[in-house]
Assembly symmetry: C2
Homo-oligomer: 180 residues x 2
């Protein structure tokens, strides 16, 4: 049956939608996938107050891995999620070299690595497998364009329609691709 | 050949030793396992300074999962690491209920979950599989003792000798137990 309802993301960020999605997966016993906490370098903590320690000085650190990982049906799952305000292409400067290396290491261990990209202007969402992402990364490294066009994502990636529950059913795509 | 060198941990914390171990695994292509960042709730950030955002008020949050996860040879790996100054037993108050639930969820997805316990006074280290930990947890819930004795860890857990590289070779134990 053809889907007739088109959901809007009601101003939720990609991260909020993915957290809801992961909560749905968890509550239904489908997967255990969590966002890692934001890495913070803590410099000064005030222990004076009796009950709670207050962090008084800290700095954001660059993540050395991807944002999300976990397990679904024996399979290790690892991905990065990125939103762009650009209308027609995804700028590769949103991804860091060590995140590419991390995804390559994951795939060497036979894990599943990918990136979820949202174009916030149009609310279009694509899943792009690690091995495809690496090709675009290499193209950039070899002097080619520094972004992935939406047209390329339509060919080499997989569109994900926004749903109600789960909101971003990326595991549906992954299970089809990897046959589990 | 019998090991003759006894390594001392030179005052390193369990976390430092495990980070070195995980770096060794990563550098040698054996596994990709990372410690998750400490979860912090950020309340106030000072963006005034031109270059760096300074976190001026933040609080430690309780972790909803375990501290370490990753992949080794297709297998999803998930564990918590705990040190105790108690000489003869590991107090279960060091583990939170939601961490037990998380480990149970991981095992339902066919992942490998365990805890690494170090007695800091004697530098003894034990690996205890999730399924064993749950038995001690249930004993406590049913009114039994609130800790696991070292004797019980010797029977139901697996001692890990401190080494040079890797320092805490927990994957050796896991690979033997799970046959991979
Ligand atoms: Mg990120
Ligand atoms: Mg912890």
């Amino acid at each position: 049956p053809k889907k007739e309802t088109i959901y809007s993301n009601r101003g939720m960020t990609l991260e909020e939608d993915l957290n809801e999605t992961n909560q749905y997966y968890l509550a239904n016993g489908l997967a255990v996938i969590h966002k890692k906490p934001t890495p913070v370098q803590i410099v000064h903590v005030d222990y004076k107050k009796r009950s709670t320690a207050v962090i008084k000085e800290a700095y954001f650190r660059q993540a050395s891995t991807t944002d999300y990982n976990g397990i679904c049906n024996s399979k290790y799952i690892d991905f990065e999620a990125k939103e762009t305000k650009s209308p027609t292409s995804f700028p590769l400067k949103n991804i860091h070299e060590h995140q590419i290396e991390h995804m390559q290491n994951i795939i060497k261990q036979n894990g599943i690595a990918f990136v979820i990209i949202r174009f916030s202007l149009t609310e279009e969402i694509f899943l792009l497998e690690g091995k495809r992402l690496f090709e675009f990364w290499d193209r950039m490294k070899n002097g080619g364009r520094k972004s992935i066009t939406k047209k390329e994502l339509m060919i080499h990636g997989h569109p994900i329609e926004l749903g109600w529950a789960p909101r971003i059913d990326y595991l549906k795509v992954i299970r089809q691709l990897y046959g589990f």
